[in-house]
């Protein structure tokens, strides 16, 4: 399943350069082409020359976090957008993982899952995204080509216009004004209708979930991710806990073990007994929410 030919240019990396500046270049290159998280994911997969099934979650998500941070340095607006899109990616990756981690029966859509492995789901989404990207290119070409012929749409010749039946007009100035009122009233902003409740409404924060995870892990044995999210009341909580774990990993508070790709993810506590608190968690991420 080659994902070659993704639209993202590979990082421009002169041989022998230190990794840090090279990476920056890569992200800047991507920024110019960036249109969505799937775009980025495709890019990362290309960069690692990996089959998607082999991509270790930790590696990819780690790169996402780095990517977000870079964006934050570039400008707040981008960073805000990207941060919320990050949730989409995290959810997609989680889909992949969850289907493997959770025994059949606990999954909502177990029939579907049985039919199609989670990796196929992610594949499907990526391929679909890629297909639409390609088709968009075709549409663009067609539109540009077609824009070269101009339709004849001239005003009706005067003598024909004169034949038109006299207009029936029943509006009083007041009725007309009412019409103008409603036409001029700002339309319900479309974004209102989508609703951001899933992002802001139920105030699930990384910090809060990190604390819960900390309590579960701090003095006990390693636990599987499955166990850690067993009491999660919604997908959002699962996603945020996943994000919290990544943050905690960056803080060197936890470590991950995954014996095989797509295998069980075991989380163990690596910080000292008492010298960790969720307060340390990267502030910039919290500020986004």
């Amino acid at each position: 399943m080659a994902l070659a030919g993704t639209p993202l240019a590979p990082a421009l990396r002169p041989a022998g350069t230190a990794a840090e500046p090279a990476k920056k270049t890569g992200f800047e290159v991507r920024l110019a082409n960036f249109t969505g998280p799937f775009d980025l994911l495709l890019g990362l997969i290309t960069k690692h020359q990996l089959d998607i099934t082999e991509v270790a979650l930790a590696t990819v998500t780690d790169e996402f976090i780095k990517y977000i941070k870079n964006l934050q340095q570039l400008g707040e607006e981008w960073a805000l957008d990207e941060a919320s899109e990050f949730l989409v990616i995290a959810a997609t990756l989680l889909d992949l993982k969850a289907a493997r981690l959770l025994p059949a029966g606990e999954v909502e859509d177990d029939e579907d899952i049985a039919l199609l492995e989670a990796r196929d789901l992610l594949f499907a989404r990526l391929l679909q995204y890629k297909a639409f990207k390609q088709v968009a290119g075709l549409i663009n070409t067609t539109l540009e080509l077609e824009a070269r012929s101009f339709p004849r749409q001239v005003a009706l010749e005067g003598h024909f216009a004169a034949l038109l039946p006299e207009l029936v007009w029943r509006h009083t100035p007041e009725q007309f004004a009412a019409l103008a009122e409603s036409a001029l009233k700002p339309k319900e902003a479309p974004s209102n209708e989508v609703g951001l409740a899933h992002l802001h409404g139920s105030a699930v924060t990384v910090k809060e979930q990190a604390e819960i995870l900390g309590r579960k892990l701090q003095h006990g044995r390693p636990m599987s991710f499955r166990t850690l999210i067993a009491d999660a009341e919604s997908t959002l909580v699962v996603v945020v806990r996943f994000l919290a774990l990544l943050e905690m990993f960056r803080d060197k508070a936890v470590g991950f073990d995954q014996l095989q790709p797509l295998g069980d993810l075991t989380v163990r506590w690596t910080a000292g007994d008492d010298d960790w608190s969720s307060e340390h968690l990267s502030e910039e991420y919290e500020e986004q929410h």
């Binding site: 957008d81 391929l127 012929s149 101009f150 339709p151 001239v154």
Partner: protein
């Protein structure tokens, strides 16, 4: 403009038995005359009603005009390509095209640069990559809600959808009975801009989705 194209009326009595064949230039010129005043594509049926001719006859005439404008000599068997070479029939500066389900006169694409200078008003700004991709998703998944387009593209598409609406490329098509979300579809203006008769003529999506059979079905089964 809805106004200028008549509904096909079988009992249409244009000119009360007026015989177009008797006018100078005959039925063909009469058809041309009508094509000069329409400001949106007209179907063969509408034209036939207006001209008091059969649809078959109109279709025949349309095909003849189309060839004529392209530089073919009508009724010359198998003239291959219009050209200045042999038959003294170079293409006209305009062409007759059948798109978005109807017939209409267009300036020939060869002259785009020149014509563009005269009809700036009709020119459109380019679509951004984001707008194009969103348009593509809507075109292939219509009717579709914004949330679903967002899910496919992985980004919020609200402002892009608004712009596509303003450009007349997409429109509301009611609400989803289950979710209550507004559904969107492409417009006939979109078809016109694409130079096609219906969305069925869009390039197949499947060749661009290599490898996984049944993705569509699975996807449509409603994961997102």
């Amino acid at each position: 403009m809805s106004g200028s194209v008549p509904e096909p009326a079988p009992d249409q009595d244009t000119g009360g038995g007026l015989n177009v064949a008797e006018l100078p230039g005959g039925a063909r010129a009469a058809l041309e005359a009508v094509l000069m005043v329409i400001d949106q594509p007209a179907t063969a049926m509408e034209l036939a009603a207006g001209l008091n001719l059969t649809v078959d006859a109109v279709e025949q005439l349309l095909a003849e005009l189309q060839q004529d404008y392209n530089g073919y000599t009508v009724n010359a068997p198998d003239t291959d390509v219009a050209s200045k070479t042999g038959h003294g029939s170079s293409p006209r500066g305009f062409e007759l095209r059948n798109i978005a389900g109807g017939w209409r006169i267009y300036s020939r694409a060869d002259f785009a640069e020149i014509v563009g200078g005269f009809v700036l008003e009709g020119q459109t700004a380019r679509l951004t990559q984001a707008a194009l991709e969103t348009l593509a998703v809507i075109a292939y998944r219509q009717p579709v809600s914004r949330a679903r387009v967002s899910a496919i593209r992985g980004v919020n598409v609200d402002s892009v959808v608004r712009t596509l609406m303003q450009r007349g490329l997409i429109e509301d098509s009611g609400t989803d009975p289950e979710s209550g979300a507004i559904l969107y579809r492409t417009t006939s203006y979109f078809l016109e801009r694409m130079g096609i008769g219906s969305v069925a003529e869009l390039p197949q999506l499947s060749p661009h989705l290599p490898g996984l059979e049944g993705i569509e079905e699975f996807y449509d089964a409603g994961r997102m």
